[in-house]
Every structure is written in structure tokens, then in C-alpha cells.
């Protein structure tokens, strides 16, 4: 085949992939404006009433959102602290088994979260009386850590450690070296990792559905529960809101860090 035809074929395939990815989302977004009680496509008329419904106390969506944000932010915050130091220790020092240690830090990525949730459930029932927030927080701390470690490692892997020596020779103590040189230069990786970790926590269903208690329900679990009882366009409306929120977050990241961090 000549180059022109390959080029043409590539475009068609790329186009199909994009349609495959975007079409369902587009359907949801458009359908969310329907005034009918059932999701219909194309929508008959235009209404924002399902959006209003999202914010109504009876749906408990806002309560779930608050829980999810709280959980995601706290888990990400703690894990940034742990993950950055884990990544530093693996990258800066040369020691036996450092690769094994790195794999260990990132292993929660490969362990099925259902299996992990089951183990945690056993532990909680042994202890008894673990509050809902803590039940989820402990689980999320483990499963989102790999994203922060991996993204920080990808930056530190190519880090010029002589910069630390240079700062030291100019009179910077270990803490000053870390906060003025190492951390600012590792920031893109740390931020990218933190964003991915937060989004993962925010979106997590499998582990949360097993560990959550009726008194502490995250947004995805709330949406799932809602779906089981009612199947109205409120779901399309909240999905649309979440899509928009993700887009804004990604755009902000692109602005401050650059998206190429995520491709690594």
C-alpha cells in the first residue's frame, strides 16, 4: 500500500475511535436536557428540571459529593506526603531490591480492589466499630498511592541529582534542598500523580461499595443506589456535571503542568 492510502486509513480509524469514545457521552449530555420522565434520545423539548433535581436534598447527591470530596482530598493529601518520600527513597539511593520495593509500592494497582476490600472487611469486622469515613479512607489510601509514586518516580528518574549537591555547597541544609530544589522540580509529576489519584478516589466504586456504611456514602455509590430505584434523567444531569467538572480540572492541569506528564 502506498503512503497516501495508509494515511487515509489511519484517519478513518482515528475518527471511528473518537466517535466511539465521545458518542455515548454526547448522548448523555444531550439527553440530560429532556423534559420527559424517561431518558429519551433525541430529547423532546428542553428543560433544566433534572439539574435542579440533582441539587435537591432528597436525592442526597450533594451529601455524597461532599463525602467524596472530603475523602478524595484527605486521601490524596496524605498519599502525596507518603508517595513523594517513597519515590525519593527509591530514586535517590542505590540499594539492593530497590526495584522490588518500587513494585511493592505500586502493587495495589494490580491487586483486584474487590479482593482487597474483602480483606479489609474482615479486618474491620474483627476490630468492630470502625467509623464509615475511616473504613473508606484506609482503603483509598492504599489503592491510590501507586499513581502518586509512579508519576513522581517518572520525574525523579531523570532528575539531575547534582543539583542537590550544588544547592548543598551553596549552604542549603537537607530540608532547604528538598523544598527549594527537589520538590519544585518534581512538582509536575507530583501534581499529575495527585490529580490522577484524586480522580481515581473520586470515581472509585468497587471498594467503596463494599466498605461504605449507610451513614457515609460517596457520590458514585449514591448514584448507583439511585440507579437501582429510579431511572430518570437526573442521572444524565449529574453525569453531565461530572464530565464538565473533570474537563475543567484537566484544563487547569494542562494550564499549570502540561498534559504530557500524563502520557509518560
Amino acid at each position: 500500500m502506498d503512503d497516501r492510502r495508509v494515511n487515509w486509513l489511519c484517519r478513518v480509524v482515528a475518527g471511528l475511535v473518537i466517535i466511539f469514545l465521545v458518542a455515548p457521552l454526547a448522548v448523555i449530555v444531550i439527553a440530560s436536557f429532556t423534559p420527559t420522565a424517561l431518558i429519551t434520545f433525541p430529547p423532546q423539548g428542553f428543560s433544566l428540571k433534572w439539574y435542579a433535581n440533582v441539587f435537591q436534598g432528597s436525592t442526597h447527591f450533594m451529601e455524597g459529593l461532599a463525602n467524596s470530596l472530603k475523602l478524595g482530598l484527605i486521601a490524596t493529601g496524605i498519599d502525596v506526603f507518603l508517595g513523594v518520600f517513597a519515590a525519593l527513597s527509591v530514586c535517590r539511593y542505590d540499594f539492593k531490591g530497590k526495584n522490588a520495593l518500587l513494585n511493592y509500592f505500586t502493587s495495589p494497582m494490580y491487586v483486584p480492589s474487590v479482593a482487597f476490600a474483602f480483606v479489609l472487611l474482615q479486618v474491620y469486622s474483627q476490630i468492630g466499630g470502625v467509623p464509615g469515613m475511616a473504613r473508606l479512607l484506609i482503603g483509598h489510601l492504599v489503592i491510590i498511592l501507586p499513581y502518586i509514586v509512579r508519576n513522581t518516580v517518572s520525574v525523579l528518574h531523570v532528575f539531575n541529582w547534582t543539583l542537590e549537591d550544588a544547592a548543598t555547597s551553596l549552604g542549603a541544609g537537607p530540608a532547604q534542598v528538598f523544598f527549594r530544589i527537589t520538590l519544585p522540580l518534581a512538582k509536575p509529576g507530583v501534581l499529575a500523580g495527585a490529580l490522577l489519584a484524586f480522580l481515581y478516589s473520586f470515581d472509585e466504586v468497587a471498594l467503596s461499595s463494599l466498605l461504605s456504611t449507610p451513614r457515609f456514602v460517596t457520590l458514585p455509590i449514591r448514584i448507583m443506589n439511585y440507579m437501582e430505584l429510579t431511572f430518570d434523567p437526573t442521572l444524565a444531569a449529574i453525569s453531565t456535571l461530572l464530565i464538565v467538572a473533570s474537563l475543567v480540572l484537566i484544563l487547569l492541569m494542562e494550564r499549570f503542568v502540561g498534559l504530557d506528564m500524563f502520557v509518560k
Binding site: 539531575n160 547534582t162 543539583l163 549537591d165 550544588a166 544547592a167 548543598t168 555547597s169 551553596l170 549552604g171 542549603a172 541544609g173 532547604q176 527549594r180 530544589i181 519544585p184 522540580l185
Partner: protein, 357 residues
């Protein structure tokens, strides 16, 4: 502005000894070059002086005070790194001001001193640029300015000229010397390049396998290497095996190289017993083509010619068992395969006992 003394400085990594009992005294304001190949221990020595590596044995004295227990960030030693190690997220000004800010200098004094040092390294007007926006030579000047602005007691330069092209090298060589003189700062250069060492330093220290092989002025090291190893490292190209023969005559001694007799300065062959095996070394530029036969003139055949710009390097066989490599300033009329006469000036030949080899 300080003296530096190393006493029995030793560093072992497991079974490997990187630096082996090094003794050295550097005078105030002196510029010293540690010269040696990779793995000779020069970089480890530098890191020990800076405080990044802890010595296994021995002491480091700055102005007579043992600095062994002082952490690297309190030693006040300026370091110029081979890859410059400029902070990429800071401007030129911020890079240079980094050390002063840590010293809690008042703002006015910081900007005054940064400006002063940038003037000294001829980099005014670039203080808002980031390192990536500068040329290699400019980055190097920033690195030098950053190392100097805190007025360190000792300056360490790690391969300061190695990343530069020929023209810039010459320029920076002059600059570094000028700045060092102007500030009178005790300086240690680490390098594997003998030209860099002899062009910058007051004294050159040749190292191999963690030991000092020779300490001397650039002239001494360049003209009279203490051993064949040093000679080889200093760019001596031609080495001849011989044997001492006959009594001295007119301050010269005959050395038998195969069937030929080469006369060397008696002073250079003082340690040689009669009939003792020896090794002769001579620098390429010190050999020349001769018009007619005479003392230390031998015929040979040109095997190859390499044009090197300001010199032409020949490989000539047949003078001795070993080939010789004269470098000529003028392009000779002869071509490959021609018979030529090569002159070996007797004052320029270095003589070593064979067992030193």
C-alpha cells in the same frame, strides 16, 4: 582565601581503594590541578573536600582546622560542576543569589553582590533569563558566578573546560585565570585533560589508582614527567626501549636502541647504571626532519601522514625497532613511503629505568 591540607586522605569503597593515603598542601591563593584518567580518584578527592563523601581515613584541614565533622552545607566551599548544575527553575539572578539568600543577606546587598559578580564574569543584562535560554559558555559563567558570589574559602572546579568548543575553551581559560587571580581564591581543578591542567594551574598533581604520581609546575610535568605513565598521560607519543652503553661524553650519555646509538642528556640519565635497561620517551613536537645525517639523526620510512591543522603527524618506521611519531609544524615535501631523516634532540629525551614501566 585559605590554605588546604590533606593528610593521609584515604577512601575505600568495599575492597576498592579510590584514594590511597593522599598528602597535599595547597597554599593560599594557589591554583592546583588534579590530573588523571577516569577512576584515578580525583573526583572522589574533590567530593571529600566538598564534604559529600566521608573519608575512610585521614584528615582535611582548611586553614589548619579539621573540617571532617563539618557538614557540606557549612563548609563554605564553592563548587563548579562539570554539567554546571544550574537550577533550571530559577533565573540567572536567582541562581546566583541562591547562596546569598540562604546566608540571609539583606536584599540590597544581594542585588549589589550579584551584579558585581555578573560583571566580573561578563554576564551583565542576562539576569532575568533562565539557564535554558543561555549558550553553553554563558551557562558556564553563571555556574562560576554562583560558586564565587558567596566568597567561599576554597573553589573546586570539576572539568571546567571540557564541555566547550575550542574557541570558547581558550576564552574561558583566560577568564578563569583572571578571575581567580583577581579574587586570590585557593582553587582546585579536577580534570582528565592535560592541556586544561597545564594551562590553568600553578601546580599540577598527576594521579593514578588513588595515588599521587607527580607534583610539579606545569613546565616540569610537561617536559620532565616522573615516569613513563605520566609521560604517556601528558601526551608523549614515542617510546623506545634501550640499554645504557659506553661512558658519558660532553654531558651526554649514549643509549643503545637496537643497532643505533642515541645520545641523551646526562642529567636525564643520572640514575641509570651501566648496561641497565631503560625506556626513552619523546614528545612528537620535539622531533624534526633533518637535511643531512648527524648526531641523533636516523633514517626511516614514512608510513602515514595525518594533517592536524597546525601540525602534521607522521608515523616513521625503521629509525628504531619501535615506530616514531614526529609532529611537524610545516607540511613536509615528503609523502607516504618516502625515506626521511629524523632528528631526536638530545635535551628533549626523557629517560626512565625499565622496571618503572
Amino acid at each position: 582565601m585559605a590554605t588546604l591540607e590533606l593528610k593521609g586522605l584515604t577512601k575505600r569503597f568495599g575492597a576498592f581503594t579510590a584514594v590511597d593515603g593522599m598528602d597535599l598542601l595547597v597554599a593560599q591563593g594557589e591554583m592546583i590541578a588534579l590530573l588523571g584518567g577516569s577512576g584515578c580518584g580525583k573526583t572522589t578527592t574533590l567530593r571529600m573536600i566538598a564534604g559529600f563523601t566521608e573519608p575512610s581515613e585521614g584528615t582535611i584541614l582548611v586553614d589548619g582546622t579539621d573540617v571532617g565533622r563539618i557538614p557540606p552545607y557549612k563548609r563554605n566551599i564553592g563548587i563548579f560542576f562539570q554539567n554546571y548544575a544550574l537550577f533550571p527553575h530559577m533565573t540567572v539572578f536567582e541562581n546566583v543569589a541562591f547562596g546569598l539568600k540562604l546566608q540571609k543577606c539583606p536584599k540590597g546587598e544581594i542585588s549589589r553582590r550579584v551584579e558585581e559578580i555578573l560583571t566580573l564574569v561578563k554576564l551583565t543584562g542576562l539576569d532575568r533569563r533562565y539557564p535554558r535560554e543561555l549558550s553553553g559558555g554563558q551557562q558556564q559563567r553563571v555556574a562560576l558566578a554562583r560558586a564565587l558570589v558567596t566568597r567561599p574559602s576554597i573553589l573546586l572546579l570539576d572539568e571546567p573546560l571540557s564541555n566547550l568548543d575550542a574557541k570558547l575553551r581558550l576564552e574561558m581559560q583566560v577568564e578563569i585565570k583572571r578571575i581567580q587571580r583577581e579574587l586570590g581564591i585557593t582553587t582546585i581543578i579536577v580534570t582528565h585533560d592535560h592541556e586544561e591542567a597545564v594551562s590553568l594551574a600553578d601546580r599540577v598533581i598527576v594521579m593514578n589508582e588513588g595515588r599521587i604520581l607527580q607534583i610539579g609546575t606545569p613546565q616540569e610535568i610537561f617536559d620532565r614527567p616522573a615516569s613513563p605513565f605520566v609521560a604517556d598521560f601528558m601526551g608523549f607519543s614515542t617510546f623506545l626501549h634501550g640499554r645504557a652503553g659506553g661512558p658519558p661524553r660532553e654531558g651526554k650519555r649514549p643509549i643503545l636502541c637496537g643497532e643505533r646509538t642515541l645520545w641523551v642528556a646526562q642529567a636525564a640519565a643520572e640514575e641509570l647504571g651501566s648496561d641497565e635497561e631503560c625506556l626513552l620517551a619523546i614528545r612528537s613536537e620535539n622531533m624534526a626532519l633533518a637535511g643531512e645525517p648527524g648526531e641523533n639523526v636516523f633514517p626511516g620510512r614514512v608510513e602515514s601522514m595525518t594533517y592536524k591543522g597546525h601540525t602534521t603527524r607522521l608515523e616513521v618506521s625503521g629509525c628504531f625497532d619501535e615506530p616514531v611519531f614526529p609532529a611537524l609544524r610545516e607540511i613536509p615535501g615528503s609523502k607516504e613511503g618516502d625515506e626521511v631523516l629524523v632528528h631526536f634532540p638530545c635535551q628533549k629525551i626523557c629517560v626512565y629505568k625499565a622496571e618503572n614501566n
